[in-house]
């Protein structure tokens, strides 16, 4: 035992106690761990910074030369000086709205059922495990699903290869993630709150609506909006359900016609189409498009944080 017993302290003087308390062996291991952790953090940040710097550098000709033109031009993978992201931004935002409308209510409802109503039966456990597995299914598989169901089978409703089919495919893709994050937020609500509501004679639905959902709202919101930013960044399923890669002519179609009948593209799909082209010109265009997608995703995440803070303030 390196440590002295209290009895032996009786003889120590104030001076020797001071040396004992201040001059003890340094916590070398602890310092080492701290240094390693700091280094990993620095490395991760460095990679991110390098990515952004590289993107800016690469896209500088576009950013400095024709940024306004780039933002307002349509998709054109044949001519780098004409290429732009206007349609892609609009497509991504439309997709995001469709995902939000379809996946959020559906996913939250599923989570409420699984957490508050389903109990612990074998059937409920089976569904929970399956939802977790679905969250891990590669996105391209959802593209095939979208092609079979939304484009081919439900052609009459979606209009075939439209932004609606794309949005639905993405909604199905993020649905498991929405269910899982909403479930976790619901599970984090203390049981005592439910007991308090039941204790004054609330029904299950009154308890869920008045207390459980409001308490879980910040967590649910954060999770769902993060799912949204994942949907905004997906290219693979959209390529299968008909995201346009080459040249997209919207002509004089109205907004509603474009949504229900016209072709569509999105930011990741546009980046994909530009990245396939050769030459420094297209490298710059690809870089600029990537940067704009990055900004879009950051904006969506910022919205998530803002919404969460707003909801938390209510109580």
């Amino acid at each position: 035992m390196a440590l002295a017993t209290p009895a032996s302290h009786g003889a120590t003087t104030a001076a020797s106690l001071t040396t004992q308390l201040t001059g003890a062996k340094r916590d070398i291991r602890g310092r080492a761990v701290e240094a390693v952790l700091l280094a990993t953090l620095a490395l991760s940040l460095l990679i991110l910074v390098a990515l952004v710097v590289n993107l800016v550098q690469r896209s500088w000709p576009v950013l400095s030369g024709r940024l306004g033109d780039f933002l307002s031009s349509g998709l054109d993978a044949s001519n780098a000086t004409e290429a732009g992201v206007w349609q892609a931004i609009r497509g991504t935002l439309t997709l995001a709205v469709i995902v939000a409308i379809v996946a959020f209510p559906l996913g939250i409802a599923c989570a409420v059922f699984l957490e508050e109503y389903a109990g612990k039966s074998f059937f409920a456990r089976l569904i929970r495990i399956n939802v977790r597995n679905l969250a891990g299914v590669p996105s391209i598989v959802y593209g095939i699903l979208g092609l079979t169901i939304f484009v081919k089978f439900a052609d009459g409703i979606t209009g075939g290869r439209t932004v609606i089919s794309g949005g639905l495919a993405l909604a199905v893709l993020v649905l498991p993630v929405v269910i899982i994050t909403a479930s976790e937020a619901l599970r984090a609500v203390p049981q005592s709150i439910r007991e308090g509501a039941y204790g004054v004679g609330a029904t299950k639905w009154e308890t869920v609506r008045s207390h459980v959902l409001p308490s879980a709202a910040p967590g649910i919101l954060t999770g769902t909006v993060l799912a949204l930013s994942r949907a905004a960044g997906e290219a693979a399923p959209l390529l299968l359900v008909g995201g346009i890669t080459g040249l997209l002519r919207t002509g004089d179609q109205g907004l509603w016609e474009q949504i229900t009948k016209g072709g569509f593209t999105s930011m990741p799909v546009a980046i994909f189409s530009y990245a396939r082209q050769t030459g420094a010109d297209f490298q710059a265009v690809t870089g600029a498009a990537s940067l704009i997608l990055l900004i879009l995703v950051i904006l969506i995440n910022a919205l998530a944080i803002w919404l969460r803070n707003r909801f938390e303030k209510q109580w």
Binding site: S192, G196, Y198, V200, G201, E206, S215
Partner: protein
């Protein structure tokens, strides 16, 4: 001084009830061969008990003796635990609480509950109080205001919070939160209030306030309190039930049993069972 005041009030209450309540003799709760299982674990067995109206009844006993489990049968809170199963009968004013057509929600509107840890809703003080009445269909603001005020007054909390009814209930102290929970219970005008160790998370001063409060409201409500604190049971209750655990020698598993149920004074001064005496004199548990 406090004692005199309480006694007078209690007597008034009893007289009033004798005069206009013919069913006074009938118990509020009566259990027969009550046993509760969690999965295949039998938590408590063979409980036969009659709870009289307008009394404070205390359940005491060592940890794991099933006193909280029995308490949670009276408002069907055990329903919330998926594995819990109740055998035997629990009658409330002669009606089988676990009968086929009995709605647990309706039971809980008549039998309120105060929990061990204060559990105010993360909302304003006003909304905490108004939640129950709103469930009962009361929507007029004036009526809700009246209920909120009178409930907070009954729970001796009004003077402390009347200027901040819109403030979050989470900002109150632990003792205030627990009195808020009692007020929340009172606001739905229940017949019975169950208290599951309501003071175990509170300091002695807050505890004393809750005990005073119980004396204040006992003439209007039947109160059953589970407590680990024997002095508390002796101070506040009229009747005391002592539970303990019995070990099954074959399976080595513990089950709670009701040992003795009598007037509090008798339980603490002249108990009929050796185990009760050992417990109340501090020799075990």
């Amino acid at each position: 001084m406090m004692d005199t005041r309480v006694t007078v009030k209690t007597q008034d209450g009893v007289e009033g009830m004798d005069a206009n309540n013919a069913t006074e003799a009938a118990p509020v709760f009566r259990t027969r061969d009550l046993a509760v299982y969690y999965g295949d674990f039998r938590a408590v067995r063979d409980v036969d008990i009659e709870i009289r109206g307008q009394d404070i009844t205390a359940f005491i006993g060592p940890s794991g003796c099933g006193k909280s489990t029995v308490l949670r049968c009276f408002d069907r809170m055990n329903d919330l635990i998926p594995s819990a199963r109740v055998e035997g009968t629990v009658e409330y004013h002669g009606i089988d609480l676990y009968g086929k057509d009995v709605d647990a929600v309706e039971v809980r509107r008549r039998v309120g509950m105060v929990f061990q840890k204060p559990n105010p809703f993360p909302k304003s003080i006003y909304d905490n109080l108004a939640f129950g009445p709103r469930l009962n269909g009361i929507k007029k603001k004036a009526e809700l205001d009246e209920i909120v005020e009178s409930s907070l007054k009954r729970a001796a909390l009004w003077d402390e919070v009347k200027d901040r009814l819109k403030a979050s209930a989470m900002g109150l102290s632990g003792g205030q939160q627990q009195r808020l929970c009692i007020a929340r219970c009172i606001a739905v005008k229940p017949d019975v209030i169950l208290m599951d160790e309501p003071c175990s998370a509170l300091d002695p001063i807050a505890t004393a306030r809750i005990e005073d409060l119980m004396q204040e409201i006992k003439q209007d409500f039947t109160i059953i309190i589970v407590t680990h604190n024997m002095q508390q049971a002796a101070r506040v209750s009229d009747r005391t039930a002592f539970f303990t655990t019995e070990v099954n020698p074959e399976s080595d598993r513990r089950t709670g049993v009701l040992v003795e149920f009598d007037d509090t004074q008798k339980i603490f001064s002249n108990p009929g069972d050796d185990r009760t005496e050992a417990y109340v004199t501090g020799r075990f548990g």
